[in-house]
Amino acid sequence: MRIAGRRPDFWTVVTGVVLLVLAILLLIPILRVMLLSFVDADTGNWTLGNYVEVFTRNFYLRGLKNTLFVGVLGTIGACLVGIPLAFFTARFHLWGRVWISTLAILVLVAPPFIGAYAWIMMLGSNGFITNFFERFGIETPTIYGAHGIILVFTLKFFPFVFLMTQTALMAVNKSFEDAAENLGCTPWQRFTKITLPLVFPAISTGAIICFVLSIADFGTPAILGRGFRTLSTIAFAAYRSELGGLPTIAVTVSMIMIAISMLALVVQRRILARRRYASSLTNLPVKKRLAGWKNVAVHVFCHGAVLIAMLPNLVVVYTSFLKTNGPVFVGGFGLESYERMWRQAPMAVGNSFLFALSAVALITIFSALISYVIVRRETKASGSIDFLMMVPYLVPGVVMAIGFVTTFRTGVFGGIGAAWLLILLYFIRRLPYGVRSTTSSLRQVKPSMEEAAINLGAPPLSAFLKVTVPLILPGLIVGSLMSFITAINELSGTLIIYDSGTLTMPVSIYLAVLDGEFGLAAALSTVLLLCTGVCVYAVFRFSENRDSAFL
């Protein structure tokens, strides 16, 4: 018997609003992309022709092959760097461990496309490393093409594998390893037979993130590809060439990208389903002290890996202070690049902050409400919101933006300006960062806190604002900072939506790189890196576990 006369309670209303917002901003664009892929661009009839074309023409098939190729190899590369790094930092006494993880985190959150073009400045046809070796008549391998992309992916994404594996290694009960040793395992056998399988779930989670991000990455293949096309550059190009008509080929390629990401996730979930290791941390892992050449080698590897990965960012900052004349570096140091940025791209700087901050304001409000619904309300609706929060991770930026444009530029939503579209795009794509951080914070708050407030006479909203929000504030701040970093660095989706009035910093950098204006690009990138660095510092201040806050 439901008691009559009670109004629907506050959280039921919130749940409804959240579901509505997610339906409009997430589900409809994705459904729209899906439907469009079955439409004939010329006649408007239903057809499977788009898929037939994509799966029969060599151009697309090669793109698919390329995407999987760089995705898989980039992921393997990330594992080859990340797993040893994690093991060394978790099991050996290392000089500068905090420094290593800080650099890894900076690499992780730095704008993704900076890596690509910084490597051009180093190893491109006119790069300074190339030029340096040329003087001695040595030809350095070119950075363009598949191996350059794989190199960038490896160095860009290994921090995911590193940080996740490290966290897991720290949580392996030492008794397991002791038992293995007691039963006669050599250290190597102990590592391969016990430790590695125990941290496999973490490794595979890190690897799957690398893979999904590689598939979705647009900046790197766009800048380094030189004819080597992946699905994201193909989808982007197809969208550009189909402007004016229905972007059916672009959305069909998009669907394939979503399918690959989802397939990867499903496979990983299936593998993990049979491996759940709960263990109590009664016996903490201890760190060993290495000596001699092993010690030197481990240090060289660990510091070398993070330094090389950090190199692109350092190069960019360095380049931004080089004296330029137009696009040409004329030797010596100067602030001309910043002056040009101030002259040519003040709008891009302003827009980036405006859009990112607006999106983050929305994200902060919504992630507080959503995390409450997910953690405290055990209904089907809250379960589906929890599930929907995974979707933005799986949908590449290009795809989401195409969905936005095809949904909101026509029909009932027509007339929404590019600025609003960008804010809403950043909002929906980066919302999961805020929700995840806030959710884990809220899980540590006992439900009795809110119940006590309600029992003392506070209505639900008041109890939430006076008690819950102050208690989850650290998580809320960390989540907002993370979504800010990722929102202000967004490139691929913005490229689809922006117009002359809504240029952002990443877009300006991308255009400057294409024009060979490396000084201007470097100055803009330095501003982005600075924002990112400040946010990372703030996250360190507010989060209890500084490493895992970024995952």
């Binding site: 008691i3 119940e451 209505p459 208690l471």
Partner: protein
Amino acid sequence: MASVDIIGIRKLYGDVVALSDINISIASGAFYTLLGPSGCGKTTLLRTIAGFHEQNAGTIAVDGKAIEGLPAYRRDVGMVFQDYAIFPHISVRDNVAFGLKQRKIPRAEMEQRVAEVLDVVQLGQFADRMPHELSGGQQQRVGLARAIVIRPKVLLMDEPLSNLDARLRVDLRAELRRIQQELGITTIYVTHDQEEALAMSDTVCVMHQGVIQQAANPLDIYLHPANRFVATFVGANNFLAVTRQGDGLYLASAGGVVANGGLAADGRPLVCGVRPEVVRVVPGSVPPGDEEVAIPASLASVSFIGREMEVLVRTEADEVVKSFARPDPAVIALQPGSAVTLLVHRSDLAFFEDSETGRRAT
């Protein structure tokens, strides 16, 4: 101060019956305890009264007025939580003032009431501390102060002492009871600790599987358990098999009629309950005195634990019987397997229908 009437409350979780037709009537100012093992429904009932759960059927009335239409924040029932639920981000004073602010009590009155109630729980000098600077016992005093300062019609306490260590628990339970009596506030108290329930309550209500087993004053609960579950859960108990011959009831393990007449006549399967503290263990074979039953047995083990000795014996019907008694050197010296006799006064035997919640047969 108010009376509470709970009429026909049912609560289902899917197919699982959490509360089944609960009827309780609590007099104004009474200390009423819900006692039972975990999962018996006591906390569910308390949270239903507080408004955190909605019942599937039934009515809760405070002072004759039904409250189930009110949301939890308008019910005016104070609650003390098992995990204290002291807001960690505001001071002790602000914690206590929280409910008063919610009720828009004028500032001067609010300050006075907060100061008064902090004196009642002996935390006056801690008003400006932050919760993490307080011990568990002090935090729970804040929890109590915060609940009573709003002068609720009813005070609900959900195992408020279970997170505290044993000694503190005993001290604080006396204090809780003192404050409750001073204020005369109707209190519903949930616990799984029978000692706590017996020591504090006007009425103890034993619950099991969502059903009230018995509600009575502590002495009756202990001395006259209404069914076998109550007899087992409150205090320790031995259960001995009963046989029937003609008009008489016999213990399977001893000769001689233990009961006559009606009890034996109606044919229900019965067991005999004997509290360990009424069982005397004596070495060797001893004849029973008047009104006594003698049960021959062999000694299984003796533990001397200071104030008393705990003796386990095995009867000839292969039943294990426990006895608590004053330490007796003659018994403690016995080897396992030695012959002993159990002596029990006939009036200390109780008979129950032979099932988990079998009723007491009289």
